[in-house]
Symmetry: C2
DNA sequence: TAGTTATTTAGATAAATGTCTAAATAAAAA
DNA sequence: TTTTTATTTAGACATTTATCTAAATAACTA
């Protein structure tokens, strides 16, 4: 849960999630959407991955990233228990 | 949304939320539950308040804190749109 | 094989964060 | 009014974080 909240606590990472919601994208395509260096985006992707919010698959030279929404189930339940 | 994610990105603050889920508590009662100084807890409470996750009411010398779950509606919707 | 392209790793740095102690403020009690 | 109790504010400090540039790695292309 800690890694999940940490991953979500950044506007850039939340935007990456929004992008991946629309379609799978490789690291370069994701980086293009931001005024942030590729290494920094790579770092954000790693944090999202560690939180299991995204998965990656090597495709030739590219690394394709996909959103994993199943982990959000935990968060959803956490919130719902707070609301009783 | 930023303040909300920020507020949730800390184990102590999430525990404070869990405590307030059970019942309203004043600052001292909350601080008692942790091995953290009162000023630090006060600081956590302020961050939760800024995120509108809790409200406070002065009662004599005490300040009573309550959980505000309505703000979680936004978070809930954010998650649900990700899950399509 | 040599060069190009895609991505990550390494290392540095500035800013943000969580924590502390000491001091300030506010209310109650003596 | 003086003292005690509850809480917050101020300031300091160590750690974490987001970012960068330069270098390394991996895979395609000529």
């Amino acid at each position: 849960m800690n890694a999940l909240f940490k991953a979500l606590n950044d506007e850039t990472r939340r935007q990456i999630i929004e992008l991946l919601k629309k379609k799978d994208m490789n690291a370069g395509e994701i980086a293009e959407q931001f005024n942030i260096s590729k290494p920094s985006i790579s770092h954000h992707l790693e944090i999202l991955k560690r939180a299991d919010l995204i998965t990656s698959e090597k495709k030739g030279q590219f690394v394709e990233y996909s959103l994993n929404t199943s982990i959000l189930e935990d968060l959803l339940n956490w919130i719902l228990t707070l609301k009783k």
